[in-house]
Amino acid sequence: MLRFIGKRILWMIPLLFGVTLMVFLILHLTPGDPAALILGDAADQQTIEMLRHEMGLDRPLPVQYLDFVWKAVRGDLGTSIHSKRPVVSELRSRLPATLELACTALTLAVMIGITVGIVSAVKRYSAFDHAMMLTTLVFASMPSFWLGLILMLVFSVQLGWLPAVGRGGFVHLILPAVTLAATPAALIARLTRSSMLDVVEEDYIRTAHAKGLSEEVVIWRHALKNAMIPIITVIGIQFGGMMGGSVVIESVFAWPGVGKLMVDSILTKNYPVVQGGLLMMAVIVSLINLAVDVTYGLLDPRIRYE
């Protein structure tokens, strides 16, 4: 197991090279000049050239890339063009907000999704099942920014129960977390239902019933653990998506997380922050995937890591 984890971490190195290279190329080959953006419309060409030189932007691309990678390996992701603060500390100050939002949303999505999925499967074709399958279909297909705006309109603007924007205590967390959790919860619920329905057809479930076990024990002890394997995959993917994809939600709710930072940085071509942020996201998503793979082994003894 430890060897497997070690090997997987080593594999992350070429992966991260690929990610950095792609991000670097996309940022540098798309039109738009950060120096021009910083200086504004009034600046003349000479001033812009000077700033470009100062920022090292006039060097050949391979040199700039290797410089970035070399520094990144030593934990230096450069300096934000606008705030002049190190990118690492920019990210570090934003990460807790994103983690807080993503973890809350994930917990919500998993709890609601799995419960709804199990109840739907157990009470297949019941009114509850039909209602839930329709509801989850709606949530799974709804754009999250739209849901966020609707929730904001109802609960903040009209009812005035919850704050619409910003980060603070628990009350600030509710709307963005619910919004971010809606689609994953719906997907997890639908998958849990179908996975459970597959599993309850299995012979060993019949064996469990033949032992005289109660329905609850059969579902929770015998069926769920088997049904969890595909569900864990989706939870992992969703969590990765939440970490990176909370970009939209963070913008809607003005949540001061990494996603919001990234959007602002992309708009201002603050490429050191974008590069650093994407690198960090890639590391986090890889680690989540690793955690998912390790969880498989904990759930299913037939999976061994060679």
């Binding site: 019949r206 032992k211 005289g212 076990l213 109660s214 024990v217 299913d300």
Partner: protein, 322 residues
């Protein structure tokens, strides 16, 4: 004779499918004395397994439903029991062994956990005691180093070993009735005999009765006291095992017996029964076997035969004897 342990009377189980209501078994009656072994034989789709699952009340509902009849176990009608009463009987008084040892054990729980949970449930033993009992059950079914194997997962065992585990699980609460649904069909021939022998030896130790479902008449000859022959959801013949092999009455039984190879006889070809089991959606009128029966008469095509007793304890559903 003492009061039978199990008496099934006029059992009818249907499945409600999109294409209509299908009776899987109809008018099934038999009884099983204490310590006795009854063999239920028939082709696939004859209703053997549905009969077994009906006794356990494990017919999945929907689509299946026991329509009518009585299942009297120790003087009480199981069909009148509530589900929680039924759960106290399952695994405790009546236990079941299934056909596929590969898929009948839960892949994510150790065999020890799976044996122990029935013990914990029915015998109110603690976790440690139940585990000790599981180890001794594994030992009694002949699993080497049970102390170690108790923590194995099913995939770490061979098919024969897993079926031993199933037997250990089924017998762990000393059931009075053991239902074995084709317990050896999925196993290697060499292992089949071992498993059967083991099952019957343990059954004798416990004094349990056995309902053995199989399509293998050889197995029946070796183990059963009585035999019921099922065809297309109905019991066609019911007789003591010696009587059945000596004087098979129903043309279907005769056909089944004729299809067994016999080394003592110099026969060029095995007999086969022409045709196939009728679809439950399209049951022939009259006797269900008549389209495949070489002796079919006019009456067989129009009217369904009832049971006729042709000897003491030997009943047959055939117009030939009416």
């Amino acid at each position: 004779m003492d009061k039978p342990l199990l008496e099934v009377r006029n059992l009818k189980t249907c499945f409600y499918t999109e294409d209509g209501v299908v009776p899987a078994i109809e008018d099934v009656s038999f009884s099983l004395g204490k310590g006795e072994t009854i063999g239920i034989v028939g082709e696939s789709g004859s209703g053997k397994s549905v009969t077994a699952l009906s006794v356990m009340r494990l017919i999945p509902y929907p689509p299946g439903k026991i329509e009518c009849g009585e299942i009297i176990f120790k003087g009480e009608n199981l069909l009148a029991k509530r589900m929680d009463e039924m759960r106290r009987i399952r695994g405790n008084d009546i236990a079941m062994i299934f056909q596929e040892p590969m898929t009948s054990l839960n892949p994510v729980l150790t065999v020890g956990q799976q044996i122990a949970e029935a013990i914990q449930l029915h015998q109110q033993l603690g976790r440690e005691d139940a585990r000790d009992k599981a180890v001794s059950m594994l030992k009694s079914v002949g699993i080497p180093s049970p102390q170690r194997r108790v923590d194995d997962y099913p995939h770490q065992m061979s098919g024969g070993m897993r079926q031993r585990v199933m037997i250990a699980m089924a017998l762990s609460c000393n059931p009075e009735l053991l239902i074995a649904d084709e317990p050896t069909t999925a196993l290697d021939v060499t292992v089949q005999a071992q498993i059967l022998e083991l099952m019957m030896a343990l059954k004798d130790d416990l004094g349990a009765s056995v309902m053995l479902i199989t399509h293998d008449l050889g197995v029946i000859a070796e183990t059963a006291d009585r035999v019921i022959v099922m065809y297309a959801g109905k019991v066609m013949e019911n007789a003591g095992v010696k009587e059945l092999f000596r004087r098979p009455a129903h043309p279907y039984t005769v056909g089944l017996l004729g299809s067994i190879p016999n080394l003592d006889e110099d026969r060029a070809r095995l007999q086969s029964i022409d045709g196939i089991v009728p679809s439950p959606f399209d049951m022939p009128k009259g006797c269900r076997f008549h389209p495949r029966c070489s002796l079919a008469m006019d009456i067989c095509r129009n009217e369904e035969p009832g049971f006729v007793s042709i000897a003491d304890g030997h009943d047959v559903r055939c117009w030939k004897y009416a």
